[in-house]
């Protein structure tokens, strides 16, 4: 019997049936090849039309191709229909069919501007292997940014390791972390290696999984707050990236910061790819797209 991979989150795709891409003037795409996940977003005249989100494999070009093909699946579109493709994320330089590479910081800021509106001034992107705090203007242009160091502490990958350690499906981590009688102290380190050994010790001491998760989510939130405070927080505040979906971290972050993040009906994990698609559309308008 195959061992369950608790870290494995559900890959997904979607396209908006109400939009006819053939009726649009500009069909463009953004592809965000991150360290843990890859997303492809297709826009039609600045409207979000289709997207996919899946695990990043060991090969960036393949990840980009698979993500794009899956986003286009069932739409009747092919990659050849795209007027421009922008690559972003860690693998952005290895997307052979991208017309331009733009950093994920710029793309997340642009995508958040779309998702949350032009009032966003501080953006927290909690990705698979790093966290970024970004100041942006009303057009979604980056004014300043800070990243965590190269350690994976406080990132999506760390959360995946914890899900596996505690045998809790990753999507349930946030909710379970609130099933505690009182909030425990955070684990003393968010370093994945040290936190894992500390969590093992807590389990041995008889802590329930929910309490260990609460302690880890709190530590992760605290670490991110430290990063945010280094750059300073200007309202409005929004969160993108996979960890934005983890209420266990987000609510504790909100509690510690004393600032409520904006909410959105969009999937915050696709912000980077969406920003890329919006940049691609802008490039076409400037006559600099693939079909220019």
């Amino acid at each position: 019997m195959a061992e369950q991979e608790y870290w494995r989150w559900t890959e997904y795709r979607h396209h908006d049936e109400s939009i006819d891409p053939r009726a649009g003037a500009i069909v463009a795409a953004g592809i965000d090849v991150g360290s843990v996940s890859s997303q492809a977003v297709v826009t039609v005249d600045d409207r979000l039309y289709a997207f996919s989100s899946m695990r990043t494999g060991s090969n960036s070009p393949d990840s980009a191709t698979n993500a794009l093909n899956w986003a286009l699946e069932g739409t009747g579109l092919t990659p050849g229909d795209l007027a421009c493709v922008v690559g972003t994320g860690y693998g952005r330089v290895n997307i052979p069919f991208a017309d331009k590479a733009i950093t994920e910081i710029a793309c997340h800021a642009r995508g958040a501007n779309f998702m949350y509106g032009p009032s966003v001034r501080t953006l927290l992107d909690m990705g698979g292997q790093d966290c970024k705090i970004i100041h942006c203007d009303e057009q979604g242009k980056v004014r300043a940014f800070l990243m965590n160091d190269k350690c994976a502490a406080g990132t999506g990958r760390g959360m995946e390791v914890f899900a596996d350690l505690l045998a809790v499906p990753i999507e349930q981590v946030g909710a379970l972390s609130f099933e505690v009688e009182e909030e425990p102290d955070p684990v003393s380190s968010t370093c994945v290696v040290f936190a894992k050994s500390e969590a093992t010790g807590l389990l041995r001491r008889g802590w329930p999984k929910s309490k260990v998760l609460a302690a880890y989510c709190a530590a992760m939130a605290h670490r991110v707050v430290t990063l945010i405070e280094r750059l300073g927080i200007e309202k409005e505040f929004a969160i993108t990236g996979g960890i934005a979906k983890n209420a266990g971290v987000v609510k504790r972050l909100q509690r510690e910061l004393g600032v409520e993040p904006l909410t959105t009906t969009y999937d915050a994990q696709i912000a980077g790819a969406l920003g890329g698609a919006l940049f691609a559309t802008a490039l076409v308008r400037k006559g600099k797209g693939r079909k220019a």
Binding site: I105, A106, V142, L283
Partner: protein
């Protein structure tokens, strides 16, 4: 932003710089072959003073030596592992760990076994410098060791300055007695005086070279400056180095007059801070693809350069005692000048307060016409990284865009090349700078 194309050409004195550096390390290693002496100490030490022992006394300054090790990543790895295996912590100064490793492995970075010094001549500019040669003495028994305490406060605090200088001069006098005892040689004051004059010439000329980089386009880029300033860290009191810096200054003046650029596509000027990650200097070339040139840093300008306020309010090379007509005919006069001159060097100031360093950086930002600052959060150097986060805040408060990147000057395991390039990409984007051909 428009593409530009300034004329550029290689430095004519580049080969001479390489030759001087190579000869320095060879002279040290071979000193005993001709009856000469070897001494070891920090690059901050008063290297003019041992020169009074004769013309055949050769130093090995520890930080640039360790930087040379760090540049050779394979050797550096072995050195760091040897030091760690001996039980020394990984968060200590990485220069120190590389140096100790070279000693423990008994391998000299320039070939052959590690050449044991005959004496140690050090000063205590930071905590690591205070311990560095204590450990060397633990590993190599009974090398005579003299150290000068220089922790007398910032130079700009004029109150009691003469007493502060005197405190150091008194130690220098005792140091000369130590040198005579340790080597059995008679001290020659005329050689000391010449060495102090060389020091003043060299460090003033280096400041002028750095000041010439205020020009747009910059005649030098910082990666090139690293290879030049290092001579001052090796032996600033030697005639060769003083002569070389004056030759370099003349060449850079000529480059400025003819509009010769270090980076032909210069469109953006930044400075860095602290020692760079020596194994990854290629990040400077990466920046240049954007037309971004690092025109220097407080570190490259002020570790060796001697500066002063000029009558027009700008920062420029300090007037040498010879040009100012300050008498330098006795040992005591020479030592007073050497102490005062050295204490005024900018890189000595921020050990006392990050605010002093912030002021200096803001001054550079204004006079060198910068678009931004890239701060190296250098885990390898506690001394120069001290207060760097406060410097960042001060620069931001003044409206300067700041990028930080983490690394280590001498331990490449703490540097992430791709992540740093990623930050550079984002920083350039936030400054509105595109790479040529990518102005989409």
């Amino acid at each position: 932003m428009a593409n530009v194309a300034y004329p550029t050409e290689p430095l004519k004195c580049w080969a001479r710089a390489k030759e001087l550096r190579q000869r320095y390390y060879e002279d040290y290693a071979k000193a005993h072959d001709t009856g000469g002496l070897r001494w070891a100490g920090g690059a901050w030490s008063f290297d003019a003073i041992p020169m009074g022992l004769g013309p055949d006394v050769y130093p090995l300054t520890s930080e640039p030596y360790a930087a040379s090790i760090a540049f050779n990543r394979e050797f550096s790895k072995r050195c760091l592992e040897a030091t760690e295996a001996k039980g020394y912590a990984r968060d200590l100064c990485s220069y120190m760990r590389n140096y100790w490793g070279s000693l423990l492995l008994n391998e000299y970075a320039f070939g052959g076994p590690f050449p044991r010094p005959d004496f140690i001549w050090q000063d205590h500019i930071c905590c690591s410098h205070a311990k560095w040669y204590q450990v060397v003495r633990d590993l190599e028994d009974d090398i005579p060791y003299y150290c000068i305490d220089v922790a007398v406060g910032p130079y700009e605090e004029a109150r009691d300055r003469q007493h502060r200088v005197q405190y150091i001069v008194d130690q220098m006098h005792q140091g000369i007695e130590f040198l005579e005892r340790a080597t059995g040689r008679t001290y020659d004051d005329a050689r000391l005086i010449e060495a102090v004059k060389n020091d003043c010439r060299a460090t003033s000329a280096w400041a002028e070279v750095s000041a010439l980089n205020k020009t747009i386009p910059a005649p030098l880029d910082e990666k090139t400056m690293y290879a030049l300033y290092v001579l001052g860290t090796l032996h600033k009191a030697s005639r060769d180095v003083a002569d070389f810096y004056e030759e370099l200054r003349d060449e850079v003046r000529d480059r400025v007059a003819r509009g010769i650029a270090a980076v032909p596509n210069e469109i953006c000027r930044v400075i860095t801070d602290t020692q760079p990650p020596w194994g990854f200097l290629k990040i400077f070339r990466y920046m240049e693809k954007y037309g971004c040139v690092s025109v220097g840093s407080l570190y490259t300008f002020g570790l060796i350069g001697a500066w002063e306020d000029k009558p027009n309010g700008t920062w420029g090379p300090r007037t040498t005692p010879m040009a100012a007509g300050t008498p330098m005919e006795t040992r005591d006069q020479a030592l007073h000048i050497l102490a005062d001159w050295t204490l005024s060097r900018p890189e000595w100031q921020h050990f006392y307060s990050p605010h002093l360093k912030s002021q200096l950086m803001l001054r550079i930002a204004k006079e060198w016409q910068l678009q931004g600052v890239m701060l190296h959060y250098n885990r390898g150097c506690e001394g120069l990284s001290l207060g760097i986060a406060e410097n960042r805040l001060a620069l931001i408060d003044a409206g300067l865009p700041v990028m930080v990147f983490e690394g280590n000057m001498g331990d490449d395991s703490e540097f992430d090349e791709d992540a740093t390039k990623n930050r550079i990409d984002s920083f350039m984007e936030s400054l509105g700078i595109k790479r040529p051909g990518e102005e989409l």
